[in-house]
Symmetry: C3
Subunit: 339 residues, 3 copies
């Protein structure tokens, strides 16, 4: 995996694309402005992108028992990639997105790109109306932004990385699909952001699993749109306290604060997520989408309007020797913990 | 009830006015901007409006037992109209506004106009400091906007109807009087908006009664100022979820979410409303009014600034064949339910 | 204490300053804009200000038992002034600020000036990272703005007074230090504002102690930035209701509403405040400060942008004969209560 970050990244995307070439499908979106803002970046990356390799296979996840036994299995298209496995059940219109990037589903540039492309693919697929996001890694939903991408790299890389973080959030928070997070493990920082960006959050009721925007603990600051997303979920006061302390809230506390919507035993998590999804999909798409957009538009527009400035701020901040030093120390600590 | 909507509407207003003519009393308002914005519309409608017919009669509603037995009854002016009965108890300064438009107190153009004119009348009456809003129809507070006004009519009618909805909200949410909703039945959509626009909400503790902005269930979208009012009461997260799902919350859930302030047994509802009103009226009017205006001004100003645009959006949306079809289907369903 | 308010005020500041003269230390701030906005006013007041008299003495307050017995006492600098006693424990980096202005710690112009100067001093002192604010007066934290300053004075005085109120809030709400309010008594109006402006609020669990922005009870209106601070803590709905009613919430109710973060027995208050402070100081300062600023900037900027207008509004409002009359009546009532 040598070469410049861009080259490495291009390889990753090509591998994933399967090499086929063709025109990208026109997006099915309701929010032209924010979608367009994200589109050129992704477009640049998947330029002359090919059709995704699809295959049919039975759903591998616990479906809610809404389908009588004895009936033929629902058609299901799956595309498994390096870091995220995606399966779309066409009968229900629900896609399952499973993070499978050991050891801790950290959000590397490759992971983020694969995530954004998968979301775009589903968004443009008329057969898909909702996505359940979960993890295949035990005890971890996602550990958040990959520190390796923020440490000892050049400025161009930091910029590209940050743009990919923004893009994922713009797509997920602004998605027309119903998005449900089935949080089956700890979910700090960027992992928490993914959960916060969904329409509904169900967490395994294990007090060992925690969730929160703990950036302040590492000596860094959650960007304003992490904060905006957080405030929209838990309100100003809880956000102010939690962000300043960089709190990681154990599942029961997260429920109490409104950071997650409900807790269920881990083995019931996907079943519950499917039941919740069915309830949300019972609504007509169009009205639900316009309502969602009305609620989230101000916060999405704020980043779209300040995107380049936000990237510059990130590059300046992360390039500081003091921050680099603190991140190196943090990585050393993690390495020692492992061994 | 033939002729154009305007003609039909003029007849309704004239009937209500009792035919007398004269100059309208100058409004006693603290918020010139928002009041003025609403004024020309109403002024146009009640052009050369007459004095309201007033009569004295004993209060017909359960007063809180603050008045010792044996004393002469307080003077009380009442004006009963087609769809809303209004009684002002001059001794307490509290008006009782009772919806009495069978079968379900739906907010037709006539109902809205009568409501706005009654509010203006009370607002300008120095003897009136507070209004309690309730219903005479069993099990229903108000069923919300009248679908008949949004279905199979022409664009001019849709525009006039929407302006009347805006106007009611501008008057009620921006009222200088203390407003208490005594919610003695279900209160979906526009009925919920009326409750949300008051200063305090008491609901009968009957789990069969529900309340919520359920527009999404009908395939339509609550306008941004319904949303703003909702967010101001329950916060962003609860509003986002409830609006997307078009939830109707049973009374106990509504209390838990903060959508209503308290539940009492139905037979105690008006007594409790009067007690709450007395507590609010114990404050000096001027300071309370300025405080209320400070809290609500941003949201009121937002509609005032985008009023014509909002009307155009409504007309465009409601005129769509897909929306008309969905409303027709809904009405068919309602008719079948009845028979 | 005769002469013009300005002269009286100058005397008070000079007394406090100890007469020494010299240049003020450059501020150590992260938020140049808001600090600069406050700076010239204070600068004008403490023009050619001297070094504060400092002395070393053992800490007089209950420290959390984090320091093993038998060790030498930590170095502690204290400066005791007329109305507020300040002690900085250099080993922990925590200053203790104790209101000691009988009978009720009311926020006079002298008190406010001393408060702002003390905060600036600590803000610029690298040894200080956090402040605990409490009272030495039994049963009272602070009774809020001194009515004497708002009654029977000239316009210039009202303007100077209001600027001092603004300045205190800009400094406290925008402080880079961790601020914890140890509320050991009742805390109405301006006293509540001080508590709301801190990062964390601990209150003695005595139901006789109450807290709230009760301005409406006196016939006056809390200014918009009191309201903004309140909304940031308890949300829009609770603020709307509480401000309109001018509610003073007993400690248990204040906890339930989120107005304070926790209740502890009065004798444990300072111990608990120190423990909370230690938890907040465990975070790296820089990230915590930037996060705090991100959360509070919008509301601080709003006052900075409308500061002169806000002063004019206050002068106009408070000069009204009706308001003066209502304040005089209130003072008469207080005097009668005493005797």
């Amino acid at each position: 995996m040598g070469g410049s970050p861009r080259a490495r990244h291009r390889r990753a995307v090509c591998r994933w694309r399967g090499g086929a070439r063709g025109g990208a499908a026109p997006p099915r979106t309701l929010e032209p402005r924010q979608k367009m803002a994200a589109a050129p970046i992704l477009a640049r990356r998947i330029a002359r992108s090919g059709v995704l390799p699809l295959c049919c296979r039975p759903p591998s996840w616990d479906r809610a028992p809404r389908q009588p036994l004895g009936l033929p299995l629902a058609p299901c298209r799956a595309f498994s990639n390096n870091k995220i496995q995606v399966e779309l059940d066409e009968s229900s219109g629900v896609a399952m997105m499973k993070f499978k990037s050991p050891p801790v589903n950290s959000l590397s540039l490759d992971f983020l790109t694969e995530f954004s492309i998968s979301l775009e693919k589903l968004e443009n697929d008329r057969a898909c109306r909702g996505v359940i996001i979960t993890s295949t890694i035990p005890k971890i939903f996602s550990s958040g932004l990959d520190i390796m991408e923020m440490c000892g790299k050049n400025m161009e890389h930091y910029g590209e990385f940050w743009r990919a973080v923004q893009e994922l959030w713009l797509r997920l928070y602004g998605s027309n699909m119903v998005t449900v997070a089935a949080i089956n493990g700890s979910s700090p920082a960027g992992g928490c952001l993914i959960a916060l960006s969904c329409d509904y959050r169900i967490m395994a009721e294990n007090p060992k699993f925690s969730i929160g925007l703990n950036e302040a603990q590492l000596g860094i600051v959650a960007p304003f749109w992490f904060k905006d997303t957080f405030v929209n979920v838990v309100g100003h006061r809880i956000a102010e306290r939690s962000l300043q302390l960089g709190s990681l809230h154990p599942a029961p506390e997260a429920l109490k604060l409104g950071l997650v919507d409900e807790l269920v035993p881990e083995e019931k998590l996907l079943e519950k997520a499917s039941a919740i999804m069915a309830r949300w999909l019972a609504l007509p798409d169009h009205a639900r989408q316009l309502t969602k957009s009305m609620m989230r538009k101000a916060v999405l527009d704020h980043l779209v309007a300040h995107r380049e400035e936000d990237i510059k701020n990130f590059i300046n901040f992360i390039s500081k020797e003091s921050i680099q030093k603190s991140l190196r120390m943090y990585m050393e600590m993690l390495k020692k913990k492992k061994s």
